[in-house]
């Protein structure tokens, strides 16, 4: 049996590195991706080593944990303290709210449970009489799962604290931020499997910024970067699919349909960026009784999203690399995180800390 094809073949990687070097512009060029998994691939495999000095790539608002605003953490803490079972993904429990984290609430006796999928919250709800709340964070990739459980006749005691976000509006908003200087976007493959290519069109067509949908193996990332640099060289911005083995141009129509059935697009609050119009999801009227904010009478008071001295807002908007922050790896580590970019395992600071930061020459 021959070895399975791996998307990490060093010979192909060298060929792509050559292409990147040939295509690279002479002027400083900042590429931005918006996905923790891209940052993982780049940092874990040391791919920045392949980029010429003029080209850099940074993570923008790509970590769902990191962009969840303080007010939503506060809401989750309030719900957990009220005696309900609060279910959430991995490291959401460590993100600081105004007063404490969900971990802190758990230490004080609240019932906070880590789940790996939305339907685990449903299973928990079926097994108890108590109120169960699923804290629904994540981008278009996780929103269909939340929609699916609400459409599947969940038990009465289950409600949802929705904090889902849409990626394309954040990418557009970033273009207007002074200092972001985005020369091209490596768009997230996971999100694109759901939404397809059309939502990125305004970024390329109206704003003139190249977009390439990229996969997550080392070769996928290098290929995506090469395609972006070619668009930049040719001054021909468009939406290009660099991950066709997973992403179809129209996306996942079934997932889009259930998202539309359950959610309407609303303004979204992003930590470090602020309110972005039409960048969040809210439950539609028929699902209003599943809204944990209503069930638990959450006021939704905006919290303080910025910690003094922490450059998370700049990191989340690709205006700083993690190592540009004076707190990085000094006062701020994954064990003692100051800002959310160090908490979330998809946060740029966390990834740089765990995988040794910039590549070694």
């Amino acid at each position: 049996m021959s070895a399975p094809f791996r998307y990490a073949d060093p010979k192909r990687a060298r060929e792509l590195a050559d292409a990147i070097r040939i295509l690279a512009p002479a002027v400083p060029t900042k590429l931005v991706h918006v996905c923790g998994t891209h940052e993982m691939a780049i940092t874990e495999h040391g791919l920045r080593r392949f980029l010429p000095d003029t080209v850099e790539i940074l993570e923008g608002p790509g970590c769902p944990v990191c962009v969840t605003p303080t007010r939503d953490i506060d809401a989750a803490v309030q719900i957990a303290r009220s005696g309900a079972i609060l279910c959430t993904f991995g490291d959401m429990t460590r993100v600081p709210g105004t007063e404490t984290t969900l971990d802190g609430a758990r230490t004080d006796g609240a019932d906070v449970r880590t789940v790996l999928s939305a339907d685990e919250a449903v299973r928990i709800a079926r097994a108890t009489e108590r109120e169960v709340v699923f804290f629904a964070v994540g981008f278009e990739t996780t929103a269909p799962m939340t929609a699916a459980i609400l459409l599947d006749d969940p038990p009465e005691n289950l409600s949802v604290l929705v904090s889902h976000k849409l990626i394309p509006p954040a990418m557009e908003a970033l273009l207007d931020l002074p200092g972001a200087d985005v020369a091209g976007y490596l768009a997230p493959g996971h999100v694109s499997t759901i939404i397809g290519l059309a939502p990125y069109e305004p970024i390329a067509a109206q704003r003139g910024t190249p977009v390439v949908v990229g996969g997550f193996e080392p070769l996928d990332v290098l290929y995506g970067i090469a395609l972006l640099l070619r668009q930049i060289r040719d001054r021909a911005p468009k939406v290009e699919n660099g991950y066709p083995r997973a992403v179809s141009p129209k996306g996942n129509r079934a997932a889009q349909a259930i998202i539309r059935e359950v959610f309407e697009v609303s303004d979204g609050h992003w930590r470090g960026i602020g309110t972005i119009p039409a960048s969040g999801y809210a439950l539609r009227v028929p699902f209003a009784d599943r809204d944990a904010r209503r069930r638990f009478d959450i006021a939704g008071v905006p919290g303080e999203d910025v910690v003094p001295g922490c450059r998370c807002p700049d990191v989340l908007t690709a205006r700083a690399a993690p190592s540009d922050c004076p707190l990085f790896s000094a006062r701020c580590t994954p064990l003692t995180p100051v800002g959310p970019c160090m908490v979330g395992s998809e946060g740029a600071c966390n990834i740089w800390f765990r995988y040794g930061g910039r590549a070694i020459p």
């Binding site: 990490a8 073949d9 060093p10 990687a13 060298r14 590195a17 923790g36 998994t37 993982m40 940092t43 874990e44 495999h45 040391g46 791919l47 920045r48 080593r49 392949f50 769902p64 944990v65 993904f89 991995g90 490291d91 959401m92 880590t114 789940v115 790996l116 685990e120 964070v137 994540g138 981008f139 990739t141 996780t142 996971h190 080392p218 070769l219 580590t333 994954p334 064990l335 979330g344 395992s345 998809e346 800390f353 765990r354 995988y355 040794g356 930061g357 590549a359 070694i360 020459p361």
Partner: protein, 340 residues
Amino acid sequence: MRHSNGRISALHGAGGEMMDRLLVEHVLARLPAASDARIGLRALDDGATVHLPPGEPVLTTDSHVVKPIFFPGGDIGRLAAAGTINDLAVMGARPLALTLALIIEEGFPIRDLERILDSFAATLEACGTAVACGDTKVMGRGEIDGIAINTTGLGVAKRAVSDADLRVGDRILVTGTIGDHGMALLAAREEFHLTTALESDVAAIWPMIEPALRVGGIRAMKDPTRGGLAAALNEMARKSKTCVEIDESAIAIRDAVRGLSDLLGISPFDVANEGKAIIAVSPDRAEAVLKALRSHPLGRDATVVGMVTDAYPGRVVLDTGVGGRRFLDMPLGDPVPRIC
């Protein structure tokens, strides 16, 4: 004779008749005792004597808890025995004798205890190691999660091997696939609902280490348990103030481990191994040591994975296989699966 419905009761830890019966009927007979000890295990004295051959005596101690207690590829008994024997083995010491202290929750099935003791004993016997003495305590329901085992190991080395004597130019060997134990336990956690067939690598490695030691040239050894290969390599680099450069493509990782690792976002470098060693060998002996390791079934997949340099003293550099390079740092703590 039946008692307590086949479960451990508080009386079993109370030092009276019930405890004697538990020890004699269910514990003692299952354990290998040393034949050359003047006052041995079965004397049930306040202590035991150990016959100490010439060499440098090495002591190690470890407490073992694991969830689940029976996991794919092993159980807490095998884990406790292998863990302590392996600590001795990577010190270059022949494991002579272990103590066995059991702390058991009231209500624990005696049949499970017997299974655990049998696998503890079998692991010791494979290395010619005896149980010197032991202790049993019972705690109330909910005061402990099932069972905890503490073992102290006594070994003797010709000259003990540290984990700090790496020198520039030394080759770094790993004795087999990495990440098996940690990933098998993660896969066994019920909330993941995985069907992956993954087994822990838990094994006592002295029989593999002994012939390698005889080859000579071994400068340092360490067993990459908690914190995995990443923690162990960093510790070796830090202590020796050298740089350990590793070629990722030379490290053996099972497909199932790699797959689960990708799925959960947890690096196989960061999770525990329970039947492996990292060995630094002088360059002229590296091939011979590798050959000796491979001659034992436990070392079948041993490879040279890198070498010691002076590039970044105290740090571990990983060549990522696609041609990228990065630092491989100390893992932080309990790995949690990522979202998204």
